[in-house]
């Protein structure tokens, strides 16, 4: 475990005070309950401190939309007769704070930052990401019945990628301050005092006790997943999945590490000006890999589902030595056809053993 720069505590009753103070510093996004009757949550821009809900199960959409908006202007253009002007679009320079994000989602942000820095740096993403403060939350058990974070190593925080980490230790939150920005995020607020020794002891105990709660395991060697994917490339398991899949795209849209986008143009009412924007896209949709002339390089749903899984546990592992699956379980929960990531990964592992035997 990486040692934090500093520890603080915050009484649960004072969360509201801190949230309100933070709202004055930047645009604060935090989980809120979507409906009173269902345990469904969503990261939203907070305007009322009371709506923040830290005791939440995985949100419907991941917090990536705070850094990568669903729709984002790339360039503006203006056409007059045969001439045109083009203008750059620079993200607004302002602080975003993502509050209460689970450690799995912090891992996901780190992955996205790696991808966006690779090769042609995606400056719009990176500018927003750099100006986003991450106040994370350590989970003490599975937050959702689909998650398998322990197997992907994401129930523990990554070494970097957050400013502050909170842990629920009963009547208060234990705060690990990891960056210089973190100190400014708590400032000298009287409600966030330095820790006493007993808090540290309790926190360490709490962390140790929590480990056993993460009991939903893949029970395969994840390092072998790229090889398992390779071995099962033509497995009939993909036919079964392809038959079930209705290609709604939900699994990718709710994934915290998916970053595919489409680019479209739209004219203003003047018909002269307009913008080119990007919008989240999904490799599960029929036209995603289609080119002119009726050729589609992933026409079958089977191939598209396999592609999704390989993009989570094979290709990024080979390219960045990172998994793009953080085990959050969102795709499994969003799937109306009951296609479960945990099952797929287990099947990949199990079927490979069979292949090896025969």
């Amino acid at each position: 475990m990486v040692e934090a720069m500093e520890y603080r505590v915050l009484l649960k009753k004072d969360i509201r005070v801190w949230v309100e103070w933070l709202m004055g510093k930047g645009e604060l996004h935090a989980p809120v309950a979507k409906s009173a009757s269902h345990p469904q949550y969503q990261f939203e821009k907070i305007s009322q401190p009371d709506t923040v809900c830290l005791d939440y199960a995985t949100t419907i959409l991941p917090p990536k939309q705070c850094v990568q908006p669903v729709r984002e202007t790339l360039i503006r253009f203006d056409r007059v007769a045969n001439q045109f002007t083009l203008s750059d679009q620079v993200p607004e320079r302002r602080l975003h704070i993502i509050f209460g994000i689970h450690t799995c989602d912090i891992h996901a942000f780190n992955f996205l930052n790696t991808v966006m820095r690779d090769g042609n740096a995606d400056t719009q993403f990176l500018a927003r990401s750099a100006n986003t403060a991450i106040i994370g939350l350590r989970c003490r058990q599975h937050c959702d019945d689909k998650s398998f974070c322990e197997s992907m190593g994401t129930n523990e925080p990554p070494d970097t990628g957050y400013d502050i980490l909170m842990t629920d230790i009963g009547d208060r939150y234990f705060l690990e301050l990891a960056t210089e920005r973190a100190a400014k995020l708590v400032d000298d607020l009287s409600c966030i005092p330095h820790t006493g020794d007993e808090d540290v002891v309790k926190w360490r105990q709490m962390l140790a006790d929590s480990k056993k709660n993460f009991d939903r395991r893949l029970s395969i060697n994840i390092e072998e997943l790229p090889a398992y994917c390779e071995a099962n490339y033509h497995s009939p398991m993909w036919d079964v999945i392809g038959k079930k899949c209705v290609a709604c795209g939900s699994c990718t849209l709710v994934c915290p590490t998916c970053y595919c986008f489409d680019i479209r143009d739209e004219l203003d009412m003047s018909l002269q000006g307009g913008e080119r924007y990007r919008v989240w896209d999904s490799c599960q949709l029929g036209e995603f890999a289609a080119v002119a002339g009726g050729v589609n390089f992933r026409r079958d749903r089977r191939d598209r589902q396999r592609h999704r899984v390989h993009r989570k546990v094979k290709y990024p592992k080979e390219r960045y030595n990172l998994f793009a699956c953080v085990g959050c379980g969102r795709c499994s929960r969003a799937c109306i056809a009951d296609i479960q990531m945990l099952d797929i990964l287990r099947q990949l592992g199990a079927k490979s053993h069979e292949f090896q035997r025969t």
Binding site: K34, S35, H38, Q40, Q42, E44, I60, L61, V70, K243, K244, C245, V246, A247, C248, G249, S250, L253, V254, D262, R264, E266, L267, M269, L271, W280, S282, L285, G286, E287, R301, R333, A334, I336, A337, D338
Partner: protein, 253 residues
């Protein structure tokens, strides 16, 4: 020169024309780029020459056909305006009965006086340039189409399902959470998932996507407790053509 726009109506509730009127403030800025020459819901004057024709309603009478052809021959751009026009829509529910059976059911002993038969989308008779599907059509899409047509550039509706836009709105899935039967996964989006966003299931008014997994969808709806009859009714509301496909496939198994 601003392109001249005309609206026409066949078998329909004229709700799509009403939607265009409902644009209110944006209607005025639309009038900066187009000239409306024929719009029964809004103006009395009519002009017989126009560039863009929005045709609402399905074709259910032989006498409609010459009129439709005349519109096609006049307009440079012909738009199927709403579900009735694009795919015969809700009117096609009657197509499961023989025309005289349906007429007798509705008009009783005056059935013989009424000229009406099976409802058909307008593309069964004329070439359609663009489809503005939906019941009613989507106003933002309408504006996008008018902008494209007025500047002579093609109008494209990305082939995404309703689920995509529903997810991107961060909606709670009504199928998963309330077990409300919803066709969002197989229905063409573009409506910004307006029905599920307000708690109503998608009933497929914008048409079933061409490559939709109809069998898979039926299977998962059954898994959510739907009977085959319920599934059939769900599809039949706006996609009677596709449901016959479904039953044909089931019969062949």
């Amino acid at each position: 020169m601003k392109p001249k726009v005309a609206f026409f109506s066949f078998s329909s509730c004229e709700g799509c024309q009403l939607q265009a009127l409902n644009l209110e403030d944006q209607l005025l800025s639309l009038l900066d780029i187009i000239e409306i020459v024929n719009f029964r819901e809004a103006i009395d004057d009519k002009l017989e020459n126009y560039d863009i024709a929005f045709v609402e309603g399905s074709i259910s009478r032989y006498s409609d056909i010459p009129e439709l052809i005349k519109i096609r021959n006049t307009a440079k751009v012909l738009v199927a305006f709403g579900s009735c026009s694009s795919q015969a829509g809700i009117n096609a529910i009657r197509n499961r009965l023989r025309p005289e059976e349906a007429n007798a059911m509705v008009y009783g002993d005056r059935a013989a006086w009424v000229e009406t038969g099976h409802a058909k989308g307008i593309d069964e008779f004329v070439k359609v340039d663009y489809y503005l599907n939906g019941c009613p059509m989507d106003r933002r899409e309408f504006i996008r189409l008018v902008k494209a047509a007025a500047s002579g550039i093609p109008f494209i509706i990305p082939k995404l399902p309703v689920c995509t836009e529903c997810k991107l709105r961060g909606n709670v899935c009504i199928l998963e959470d309330r077990n409300t039967l919803c066709l969002g996964a197989v229905t063409l989006g573009g409506c910004n998932a307006i029905c599920p966003a307000y708690g109503h299931p998608c009933v497929g008014c914008r048409g079933i996507l061409p490559d939709a997994n109809i069998e898979g969808m039926a299977e998962l709806l059954r898994h959510h407790g739907a009977s085959d009859l319920e599934i059939e009714h769900l599809y039949a509301m706006y996609n009677y053509g596709r449901i016959s496909l479904l039953t044909a496939r089931a019969a062949s198994r």
